[in-house]
Each structure stands twice: as structure tokens, then as C-alpha cells.
């Protein structure tokens, strides 16, 4: 029968108070754990998808939109750019070593179809689960999540719909069918959500009714041309991802050159992502503040509960002293009760935070976009645990001090008098 056991019995006896305190503290802790896990994982997801993309070149507009659209495949394009201008930048002998062209604008079942080349797959280290990488017109290699969600299999054909998301009234390109030739392994990147094809397929699909003759790159059975080296004609693409500079100076000079001297826009993903998190950070800080207020309220509630309990338990504590408990033991007993309440709140809060993140991670509509999991532990949570024990200690300190100073003789005398 230890003092810990005595504390446990006491807080169990006062289960309603204990329950309310635990819920209050657990809610605050749960919110903070939730914020920690979600913030860290979203940041990781964002940084993982940058994957060394140094710069994105596209049509003028919002640089953030350019990044969100072409790196994260979340927003709409700022517009199209001419292939000729893109080729000029990709071939810049002083600054650009590697560039990947992108064309966007269509979807299948809500998943984006991205026109690109094999360099995109190499850049993201994408591996095939089945089939091959697209190398002919209208061939498509699909991401693992697309395969899972749509049920598309090798050899299946489909036609695309105009727009980047599934819409009831969207125009569909029924004249041209894509054929699935490869399925990628899950990579944990945005590529899991994409259908990858050659850019000429986009041109073909979108030139319906515009040209009577089949262009040479659209001849059946021919391998896809290298669009960064082919005659540009009037073709357009959506963006160019610069994945490797020729020298460090390019990081400073190239964006400035493009933004000042061309009709294009250059945006730096690292910079824009930081800007996103700065903006998200305001909201996160507000919610975090709210959570800390909840923890403060829980501390106050714990303090009031222990303080009231102390008043109600004067005689019990005096009896403990009469049985030989020292002042230090009574002090420790009250602190233990504060810590036990903190432990219960912590257990509830950690469980709530982790389970909520895990649940949202499986939630339809979030699971494929955010890849969140509650089954991970962040070092910040250790700091949270220390903070909560500190809160438990502070809440119990005054009641513990008062129990330390209890005048046993007077209390026992009064009770028997």
C-alpha cells in the first residue's frame, strides 16, 4: 500500500472530477499533438515532392500557383507557354543542365494526366510495378494510387476529360483513347496520383478539329520525339521544371533573367514552400494558442480540484500524519495526485491526437493527397510530456505546500473536541 496507490485510490474515488479534468487536459494535449503530427507530415510531404526541383518556369501569374500546380499538382495552371521559349531556356548553355517539360489540363476520374517525358520518372526515382514506361503516342503509365482507385489495369483504354478535376459537365476527348502500358510502384510522392504520358498526346487531343493532316510526331507506332529538341512550331506546354543548374550562379541569375527579360515567370519551390508555411503558420499558431489555453484551463481546473480536495481532506491528511506520515510524504502525496491527473490527461491527449491523425489519414479525399499517419512519434512530443508534468507539478504545488504546513494537532483536537 504505497503513497502512489493511495493517490490512485483517491482520484478514482473522485472519478467525476478526475474525468472532467482528464477530458479538459486531454483535449488540449490532443490538439497540440494533432498540430505537431499534421504540420510535420505536411511539411515533409511538401519538401519530399520538391525533390530537388530548383525552379519552375511557366506563364506569368502567381508564383505560388505555379509551384502548387506544377510541383504539387494542387492548383490550376497560370497559363501555357510556348514550346519555343521553353526550349530556349532548357538549352541555356550557361545555366541549365537538366529540364523536364510538363503539360497539364486533362484528367481521368479526377486524377491529373500529366504530359512529360521519361526524365520525370527518373527524377522522382519512380519504379515500375508492372508494364513499361510510356514511349509511344497515347500510351500512359499510371501511379499506384490511380491504379488502386480507378481499377485501371495494363492494356485498359480510356479517354480523358478536359480540366484538372472530375466535373459533370466537363468536355471529354472521346476521339482519342489513352492506353495503360505501365503501373508504377507506390513512391509516397505526388506521382502516385498522376497519369503520365508524352506531351504530344496532349497536343493531339487538343487539336481536334483544327488540323486535317496528321503531324509527323503523331504517326502511328513511332517513338515519342524529344520535345525539347523538336521543331517547336506553335506548340505549347504548361511549365518547365529545372532540376539541375550548370553552376551555382544560375540560382540567382536565371530567375532574374527570366522574370525581367521574358514573357515567362520563374518561381523557386523552396522559397514558395517556405511562404506557404509562413502563411499556414499563422493559423497553426492560433490553434496552438487555443490548445495551450485549454491546457492552462486544465491546469487551473486541476489546481481547483486539488485545492478543494485538500480542504475536504484536512482530517484524512491529519490521520495520515497521526499514522506516522511525514510532512514530506504529504507534500509528495499531493504532487503525486497532480502528476497522476497529468498522466491521465497525457494518455488521453496522446491517444486522441495520434488516432485522429491516423483516422484523417484514412479519410477518403485526404488519404491520397496528404499521406498522413498517426503511427509516428515526434521529438516535440517529449517536450510536450515534460511541459504537462510541469503543469501537473504547478497545479499541485500550492495544495501540496498547504498539506505540508497542516497543523495536525489542531485538526485532530477539533475533530475530537
Amino acid at each position: 500500500m504505497s503513497l502512489l496507490s493511495l493517490s490512485y485510490h483517491y482520484i478514482r474515488q473522485n472519478w467525476l472530477n478526475t474525468l472532467l479534468n482528464t477530458i479538459l487536459l486531454g483535449l488540449g494535449i490532443g490538439m497540440i499533438v494533432f498540430l505537431i503530427l499534421v504540420e510535420v507530415q505536411i511539411q515533409e510531404n511538401f519538401r519530399r515532392n520538391i525533390k530537388g526541383i530548383k525552379m519552375v518556369v511557366g506563364a506569368k501569374g502567381s508564383p505560388l500557383q505555379l509551384i502548387l500546380c506544377n510541383v504539387y499538382h494542387l492548383d490550376n495552371p497560370t497559363g501555357n507557354i510556348s514550346l519555343a521559349e521553353a526550349q530556349a531556356i532548357a538549352a541555356n548553355p550557361r545555366f541549365v543542365k537538366k529540364a523536364i517539360p510538363l503539360a497539364l489540363g486533362d484528367n481521368y476520374a479526377g486524377f491529373r494526366i500529366v504530359g512529360t517525358n521519361a526524365a520525370f520518372l527518373a527524377h522522382y526515382h519512380l519504379r515500375l510495378a508492372r508494364g513499361k514506361i510510356f514511349d509511344r503516342l497515347m500510351e500512359v503509365t499510371i501511379g499506384a494510387e490511380v491504379a488502386r482507385a480507378t481499377g485501371l489495369r495494363l492494356g485498359d483504354t480510356f479517354h480523358s476529360a478536359h480540366g484538372l478535376a472530375e466535373e459533370a459537365e466537363a468536355e471529354s476527348h472521346e476521339a482519342h483513347h489513352f492506353k495503360v502500358v505501365g503501373i508504377l510502384q507506390k513512391s509516397g510522392t505526388v506521382a502516385d496520383q498522376l497519369l503520365l504520358t508524352g506531351i504530344p498526346a496532349f497536343w493531339l487531343v487538343h487539336q481536334e478539329g483544327q488540323a486535317a493532316d496528321t503531324p509527323p510526331w503523331a504517326a502511328a507506332g513511332k517513338p515519342l520525339p524529344d520535345i525539347l529538341k523538336m521543331p517547336p512550331e506553335n506548340h505549347q506546354i504548361t511549365a518547365l521544371l529545372i532540376t539541375e543548374y550548370r553552376n551555382p550562379l544560375a540560382a540567382i541569375n536565371l530567375p532574374r533573367q527570366i522574370n525581367q527579360h521574358t514573357s515567362l515567370q520563374a518561381a523557386l519551390p523552396a522559397l514558395e514552400v517556405n511562404r506557404i508555411f509562413e502563411q499556414l503558420g499563422v493559423g497553426t499558431r492560433v490553434i496552438g494558442l487555443l490548445a495551450y489555453i485549454l491546457i492552462g484551463l486544465a491546469a487551473l481546473s486541476t489546481f481547483i480540484a486539488l485545492y478543494n480536495a485538500l480542504r475536504a481532506r484536512h482530517y484524512d491528511l491529519a490521520i495520515l500524519r497521526s499514522l506516522g506520515a511525514t510532512r514530506g510524504q504529504l507534500f509528495g502525496l499531493m504532487l503525486l495526485e497532480g502528476w497522476l491527473l497529468a498522466c491521465l490527461g497525457l494518455a488521453l491527449g496522446l491517444a486522441t491526437g495520434h488516432l485522429t491523425v491516423e483516422w484523417i489519414g484514412h479519410w477518403e479525399g485526404f488519404a491520397d493527397k496528404l499521406a498522413l499517419t498517426g503511427w509516428r512519434w515526434e521529438n516535440t512530443e517529449y517536450q510536450l510530456i515534460i511541459l504537462i508534468f510541469g503543469v501537473g507539478f504547478l497545479a499541485a504545488l500550492l495544495p501540496a505546500w498547504q498539506s505540508y504546513r497542516l497543523e495536525v494537532g489542531k485538526i485532530l483536537g477539533k475533530a475530537n473536541g
Binding site: 500500500m1 496507490s5 478514482r12 495520515l320 506516522g324 494537532g409
Partner: protein, 216 residues
């Protein structure tokens, strides 16, 4: 001075006052091991103060109080706490069992504080002797008044103290129950070789004791 074996408790010129009002004055008093004493006095005569001084709950002001070989005035508060935990049992007018603990756990707590861990069997034996075996897992509010009083006596004796101090144990009882409690305290303390000091204003108890200390 060596008082070991002959005298367990010795008081010389002991006095105590609250806010300049003297509430207790004893010139000389000795309690031998195994002896039973009745401290008889009206309300305010200092009975409770005397018990609290013996138990080390109150700090000595004047005079001497020897506990076996030890002068209590020289002991620190924590040393007095240890002495009380190990060697003294206290019984009050009301049982005052800890309400969140079962009867058995109330006894186990007294053992823990006396650093007599692991003697569960001693608790069970004592509860059986007091007819409380069936109530060992009951919480205090589930006991009758008599059962609660017996449980409190068991708690005071479970760590086999050298001295049992009882403060007005019969004050709220009728004649029959008062007699029962006094017999119980005497029998149990005698069986354990524990000295017994009962402080009371209850004249009914007087007939059961050979040794009586009267306080004015």
C-alpha cells in the same frame, strides 16, 4: 538515564500552553511496558494535548518526556514521525478511516508507514480476531459504526506498536458498546504486550482501570 525495560514512558514537570493559557501540567508520571492507564479529566483539561505530546504530534514546550531511552524534546519532527509510525498506535473518538481505501488497505497503509511491508497475514489475522474478515474489502462507508470503530482499532494495532493511545474512544457510545470497546482495547493490547493509555472524560470507563491519572 537508562529507562529501558523498566519504564516505557516517563514524564517530569511537563507543561503545555496555548496562547499563554496553560492547558496541561503533570509533575510526574510513568508508564511501564504492558501497563494500562486511564487519563481522566473534563473537557479542556489537556487530555488530547497529553496524547499528542506523547505521540510526538506536538512539540514539547516545558518539562521532559522520555520514551524508553529517548528524550522526545531532542527529536526532530521527522524523527518523532518515524517513532510514531513505528511504535505508537492512535485511536480516536470517531473511526476516521481513509474513505477511499478498503478496510484491509487502511491497515496495509499503517503497516507501510511503519515500514512493516509484506505482512498481509498479520492484517488478516487481526481482522479475523475482530470479526471483520468478511468486511476486509468493504469501504468505510459500507461499515456500521461498530465495525468502523473496530477497524480503526485494528489499524492502530496492526503494526504492533509498543503503546496504544486512545482519545475519547467511548464518548459517543452507549454503555454496552462503551464497555465492549474498552474490553477490546484492553484485550488486544494485552495480547500484543502493548501499553494502553485511554484519555477520556467518560466516568463509566473508570471501573475498568487500576491505573488512573487525573487531570484538572
Amino acid at each position: 538515564m537508562n529507562l529501558a525495560y523498566r519504564i516505557m514512558l516517563k514524564i517530569e514537570k511537563l507543561s503545555y500552553q496555548y496562547q499563554q493559557t496553560k492547558v496541561l501540567q503533570i509533575d510526574h508520571w510513568e508508564v511501564a511496558p504492558g501497563q494500562s492507564w486511564l487519563v481522566l479529566g473534563a473537557s479542556g483539561s489537556g487530555k488530547t494535548t497529553l496524547l499528542h505530546l506523547i505521540a510526538g504530534i506536538l512539540k514539547m514546550q516545558e518539562g521532559q518526556l522520555w520514551w524508553q531511552n529517548t528524550d522526545l524534546a531532542r527529536l526532530s519532527e521527522s524523527a518523532r514521525d518515524r517513532l510514531r509510525a513505528k511504535s505508537i498506535g492512535l485511536v480516536f473518538q470517531k473511526p476516521h478511516l481513509l474513505p477511499s481505501l478498503s478496510v484491509l488497505k487502511n491497515l496495509r497503509l499503517a503497516q507501510t508507514l511503519a515500514r512493516r511491508k509484506g505482512k498481509r497475514q498479520a492484517c488478516l489475522d487481526l481482522l479475523e480476531k475482530l470479526g471483520l474478515s468478511e468486511k476486509m474489502h468493504a469501504l468505510p462507508h459500507q461499515l456500521s459504526q461498530g465495525q468502523a470503530q473496530r477497524a480503526a482499532i485494528a489499524r492502530a494495532l496492526v503494526h504492533q506498536p509498543a503503546l496504544l493511545l486512545a482519545d475519547e474512544p467511548t464518548a459517543s457510545l452507549d454503555d454496552a458498546n462503551a464497555e465492549k470497546v474498552v474490553h477490546l482495547l484492553q484485550d488486544l493490547s494485552q495480547a500484543q504486550g502493548t501499553s494502553l493509555v485511554i484519555a477520556t472524560h467518560d466516568q463509566r470507563v473508570k471501573t475498568h482501570f487500576l491505573n488512573v491519572l487525573k487531570l484538572d
